[in-house]
Structures are given as C-alpha cells and as structure tokens.
Symmetry: C2
Subunit: 212 residues, 2 copies
C-alpha cells in the first residue's frame, strides 16, 4: 500500500497514529522512574529513549507534554534533577504497559502495576527492581521541538547497572541474553533474537557483494 502526504493527512486519526508511530521501526521499551518533592514515586513506560553520545554519556527521550503520565515524570525530573531508565524485559511487559494509565497524584504506579522500587546511593529517583539493565541519570536540559510542541529531554548517566550475563562477544551488550524487549507503535511488544554481528567497517574490508 502506498500513501502520499495528502492521503496521510486525510487518514482516520487513529489509523494515522498507529501507522506513523510504527514506521520508524522497533523502539526500545523502557520504564522511567522519578520521585516528587513530596516523595511520591512514579514510573512510566516510554518508547522514545535514545542514545545521544558516549563521552559524556548522554541519553534522551521525547516528551509529549499533553499526556498526564509524562507530566508527572517531567515535573519530578525538574523538581530534583534525577531520573532512572530501566529496560523492560519479557517478564514484565504487562506491568510496564499498564503504567501508561492516568493514575492520580497520590497513587504510585509501582504499587498498582506490581513493580518494586529500588534505591541506590547517589541517585534520588527509584529504579525498577525487576528490570535487568538500569541507568541512573542527572537531568541536563530540555530542547523544545517547536514544529510540534514536543520536547527532547536530555540526561547524563551517573550510575549504570549491567548484569554479568549481558556482556557478550567482544564485550558488546547482548540484549537477548537479558530478555530486553522492543515496541512497535504503542501497543505491541517484541522479544529479540540475535541474528549476527559485524565488525566496524574499513573501506578495504568491504566484501564483493556482486559475487556473494
């Protein structure tokens, strides 16, 4: 099926949301943990966490400020400068997905979604105990994307928990070994199966694809 710009604009709204949220390909499934200045914890699923740079170690995510859940995450982050990113593994996809409900201010998604808070010295925000790979970050800055009112939120890694069994071939991180999942669109969860690994490519090492 082919769609022009005009056909995309005229698409049913829900259909467009489904299609356009999925066409970028698989997205990382992560839980972002925060805590308010009155010590109410919050955890919410995000499918927009990204790598931004390794030195300094920066990560980002896209915030749609209209949503109720992201608003708590962002308010907490601004209040105390701390947040955590926790991989969603195959065992907690349902718990993770239901954190997207609009809970009230005095409800914690940890309790209501069957997830456990975990605290580490030096990081104010809660980690998700059930997660296998967890990252503590310091809030750095917010960059507005004026074209559609979203915000790129940036943090620097200050604490990193990587399980031993995640360290694979040539010290790459093996996401399949720690059961990290991916998301398509907003609703569908995938597990990962390792296909292959290729080296850093130098020009003279490119194989002759014409004879392969």
């Amino acid at each position: 099926m082919q769609y022009t710009k005009q056909e995309i604009a005229e698409m049913d709204r829900v259909q467009r949301i489904k299609f356009i949220n999925a066409v970028s390909g698989v997205k990382a499934a992560n839980l972002i943990g925060t805590i308010s200045d009155t010590e109410v914890t919050n955890v919410a699923i995000f499918n927009s966490v990204m790598h931004l740079g390794s030195d300094p170690a920066l990560m980002g995510f896209i915030l749609r400020p209209t949503g109720e859940v992201p608003r708590h995450t962002y308010e907490n982050m601004l209040a105390n400068g701390s947040f955590t990113i926790n991989h969603v593994n195959t065992g907690i996809i349902k718990n993770a997905h239901y954190t997207s409900a609009k809970f009230s201010d005095n409800e914690s998604e940890f309790d209501l979604c069957g997830l456990t808070e975990e605290f580490v010295t030096g990081v104010k925000a809660p980690f998700v105990k059930e997660s296998h790979l967890k990252i503590g970050l310091e809030y750095v800055e917010s960059i507005p994307i004026e074209r559609n009112g979203t915000i790129l939120v940036i943090g620097e890694i200050i604490h990193l928990v990587i399980p031993e069994n995640a360290i694979g071939e040539e010290e790459d991180i093996d996401l399949a070994a720690i059961e990290t999942t991916g998301i398509s669109g907003l609703n569908t969860y995938y597990e990962l199966k390792k296909l292959d690994r290729f080296p850093y490519v130098r020009r003279h090492e490119v194989p002759d694809f014409k004879v392969l």
Copy 2:
C-alpha cells in the same frame, strides 16, 4: 556490574562506546537514502531514527557530524531537501552494515553493497528496493544539541510504502511479519518475535497485579 559516573569517565574509550551505545535498548535498523546535486546516490545505515509526531507526520535522526558517511547524507539532504528511510530486514543486514564504510565521493554504496536504487514520482532521493517498509521525507529542520555537537535532523513524511502483510491485528503494523530488524550498540543485529499486544489503557481497566 555497577559503574559510577567516575568509573564511566575512566573506562577504556572503546569499552565506553560499546556500553553506552547499547544501554538505551534496541534501536531501529534503517537505511537512509539521498542523492547529491550531481546525481550521485548515497545510502547509509543509521540506528538513531525516531518517531517525533503523527500529525504532521514527523521523524528524526541523530547526526554525528564527525563521520564521513553521515556527512554525505546530510550534505545531500540540505542540497535538495529529500531523503528516504528504509527498514533493514533480516535478508539485508550484511549489505546494510557495510554501507558504514567510508566510500569516496564518486562511489555509490548501492552498487558496492549490493543494494538497488528505486525511484518514486515526487521523491527525489532513492529508496532501497530490497527494503519492505519505505518512507519518503522532506527535510524540515536541524536542531543542534550543543552539549555534545550532535544534531537532531527532522523530516516530514511525504510518501509511505507499507506492505499488505505488515497490517496486523487491529491495524497495528506487524514488524515481525515484514522481517524488520533491530540493532544493539553499533554491531549486533536482532530479529523480532512478537510477544503480546495490550490495549490503550484507561485507569479503570488496570488489572489487579497483586492477585495475578
């Protein structure tokens, strides 16, 4: 294994690049196609393509301006305002990966990596014929991330090719059905296996996780 901010800063450079590139979770594997004003085509693998919004339909990717391959992509994009994003499927992971070599100005990665150019009326940049899900975009703007010198490049979807067999349950896009792949870090490719699908969540529909 646990790492503090200080330990991350003191890590061996290659080790840090590997770890920090992987901790955000799985990343979409996409080929970005462009064409120069002298009609030399270019195609390069990117692991940073993201969804930015569905109305208007915006996508972005992170550019590290120091690399030779991204430079061609970006120059071409600025020259004629056109680029394509093409999912890397399981059958072309090796071809896709080797586009990251530093080819010279008069070499096309299409030829040298065994990929085929495909043109569509209204989109100047080449699509990748072997890809199953393909997107034609109009360059919108570049937002500098001053903290580390990278750039968030934004485009608007003007043409969308989605195979019939990608349309799954409740019109979600089934990435496994079209063999779309993901990347961990810079070198490892994963196939996707569908686990489950959950609905949009309303507060009163949250299950009681304490009794599950």
